[in-house]
Symmetry: C2
Subunit: 418 residues, 2 copies
């Protein structure tokens, strides 16, 4: 079963916003065995919408449209769909009642444009949007399903989860798609490929292998599709084991989880706590951990010690250490990590101190020089990394390196296999 996503809105085409909806939708649709054939971002123009809709129907059975449903003049999706399907707009009483209620709850008066949001093409199935005022519209047309929903992520997500995915599952008999991810570190994409060339060659045609490189890690993804889910799971497990065995020490994780979530799970299982001492990563690692519900059982908090003064105050880094070795040094990183374990009273701590750039580098310590330390109550280890010149990339690389160092240390201390 093939689907396409069409996102409508000039704001994507001028780069004002990043389209995060499509990736989320694709992930959810994949889980139910619907493959995305194409994602198309187009402007708020009737002609363009019609053309994209025609092209998409040539390729796919399900067309999911987001955006262009706001109450303002620049949004033309609804009237365009009404004309396209030859269904005049009519006021939908249930939607109007919902919109009225929505404004009452917000304690704001309604205006003409809001009432117009309750108009829908006469003949589509209207799905009430509990999280907003623009209704979701479901069309069936020449054996294709076309759904129009708002582009606001939390309106779209709820509609997909609660309404659209269940309806798609009901409408089609779908094959299963099973994914297995293998996160590796320390080997480039081409080297990995060479090492497992024979295993890749031997994969049956319904199992595909993809390489997803990101910074110093490569995620391998096996995808199998078929009608028997149990058989697929067994089959993909078999091939996964072969690859994991072959790549051995380069395999970090065989769960499709963000790295920080795998750390939280492992530490949570062993009732261990974590704190952070972040200098050049500036809160980014804390943010990664605290994105996840329940992170507070493991993650206690930490210091974002951008200034030297805060490194001393919060982490107890010695003034002599900073004077003699500098803020970006093995000694400072170690004292930061030890200080975090001691002051924040946690089992483990990560410390990161480096020069993220673009300024602040020197001949001895160029931009991209980063020290990471991992401390427990009994030991501390530090390692230097030399990244490149780009600030955001250095922040992300430092975060990944720090989490990797902690993860490997945990696996060693806890005697855990990948």
């Amino acid at each position: 079963m093939l689907a396409e996503i069409i996102t409508i809105g000039d704001e994507i085409l001028i780069g004002q916003i990043v389209d995060t909806n499509s990736a989320w939708m694709a992930t959810e649709l994949n889980k139910i065995g619907v493959k995305i054939k194409q994602i198309t971002s187009i402007s708020d123009e009737a002609g363009h919408i019609v053309a994209a809709l025609n092209e998409a129907q040539e390729r796919a059975d399900i067309i999911l449209i987001t955006g262009g449903l706001g109450p303002t003049k620049d949004d033309v999706t609804k009237i365009t769909l009404a004309n396209y399907f030859n269904m005049p707009l009519k006021l939908d009483e249930a939607t109007l009642a919902h919109v009225k209620q929505f404004f009452e709850k917000l304690n704001r008066p309604m205006i003409e444009a809001n009432i117009k949001q309750a108009e829908v093409p006469d003949g589509c199935t209207v799905i009430t949007n509990k999280n907003g005022t623009a209704p979701c519209m479901w069309f069936e047309h020449n054996d294709k399903i076309i759904v129009s929903m708002p582009g606001v992520p939390f309106e779209m997500k709820y509609l997909m989860e609660d309404e659209i995915i269940p309806r798609i599952k009901k409408a089609f008999k779908l094959p299963f798609i099973v994914h297995q991810s293998i996160l590796t570190a320390g080997l480039g994409e081409s080297f990995l490929a060479e090492q497992i060339a024979d295993l890749e060659e031997a994969l049956p045609s319904h199992i595909k292998l993809a390489y997803l490189p990101k910074l110093d890690q490569v995620r391998l993804r096996l995808s199998a599709s078929g009608i028997n889910e149990d058989a697929l799971l067994a089959e993909i497990a078999l091939h996964t084991n072969k690859i994991v065995e072959r790549l051995e020490k380069h395999v970090v994780l065989t769960e499709d989880l963000p790295f920080e979530k795998a750390i939280l799970n492992l530490m949570g299982k062993h009732k261990l706590t974590l704190s952070l001492a972040e200098s050049c990563t500036g809160g980014y690692i804390s943010h990664l951990f605290t994105q996840h519900p329940g992170s507070s059982t493991v993650f206690q908090g930490g210091g974002v010690t951008y200034s030297n003064a805060l490194k001393q105050l919060l982490l107890g880094v010695k003034e002599e250490t900073l004077d003699e070795f500098g803020a970006v040094s093995e000694q400072t990183a170690k004292e930061m990590a030890i200080g975090a374990v001691a002051n924040f009273k946690t089992d483990y701590a990560i410390a990161v101190t480096g020069i993220a750039g673009p300024d602040g580098g020197s001949v001895d310590k160029p931009v991209g020089t980063v020290w990471v330390a991992v401390a427990s109550k009994t030991q501390v280890k530090a390692k230097m990394y030399k990244f490149a010149s780009q600030r955001l990339q250095n922040i992300e690389r430092s975060a990944m390196a720090a989490m990797m160092m902690l993860f490997l240390q945990l696996k060693q201390d806890l005697n855990v296999k990948p």
Copy 2:
């Protein structure tokens, strides 16, 4: 001048990665007066690549393709382009030398697949990729320009900035496009539209107004295109002023900057320092500030005080306060902010404490309850927000609310107009 972006790669279509490249490319192209007509994400299949390429050439003059250039089997962009343009692959000596050098620098041996990366369609213009091994390829075909580049963001970005944009500027005589952004808060999209309906009606046809709502803010964007840049700037300034005058106190910012950058600029100009005390935002606000080069002159650091113990230890929140009012309370928020100003020795501090969810709520304090406090050396103010049930959205909303509160306080204290 119209361009299209085609991103190639199954990883986007299965939702494994979010396409951030396209927004960045669109922003950069807009600056030189190239409008993006469509962004299309397709799979690593020759037939799909050819179809997308044909369709794009019907609509645009410049086609920028990213992705599918890796050394592994799943990447077929290069061979597909070679067949499409009827240019057999040949080994490019300059590229081979570059690839060799690249591997030498990394101290890794080359394998067959890497040598193949130096093969290019015979007849295209090869642009060396200083940040990677896959070369960039520039084709001219029936008065259209088609460029293929790697999808790795920092390879693509450098190639766009240093090579492709200068070449596009040379190849075409481009109109100017001028954007002006007006960030507003406190009024919904439809209300804003109603308040400025006559001003919008009166805009000349070469100036467009767009509404970009995000959480509790709406960014208005005026875009003007034409051949005389100075005239456009004057004209857009005139219309901007009219809108700003009309919306008055709802206007937060008339610069097209991320909110945190506007705060850094304002505080930097007045030589003020900032620290943070983050509980439910978990480092996210720190991360927002520290993304920006030079943020360290204003932002000194802060505490990510997830646990109550850390709230007491780092910020001096009193145990009685936590016992009597709880961690999510006006009193705790205020003590956190005052503690940050005092302990971290900064001019201002923001404190955020709340229940991000999905768990941890109660009848009195449901998920989404967030207290924000802003303190200076002489005063502290706190405000409660009631957000919704979604964790990531609550983190982001809290961050925006906190920055807004600081920004308004700064404007008041410094007597600054929007």
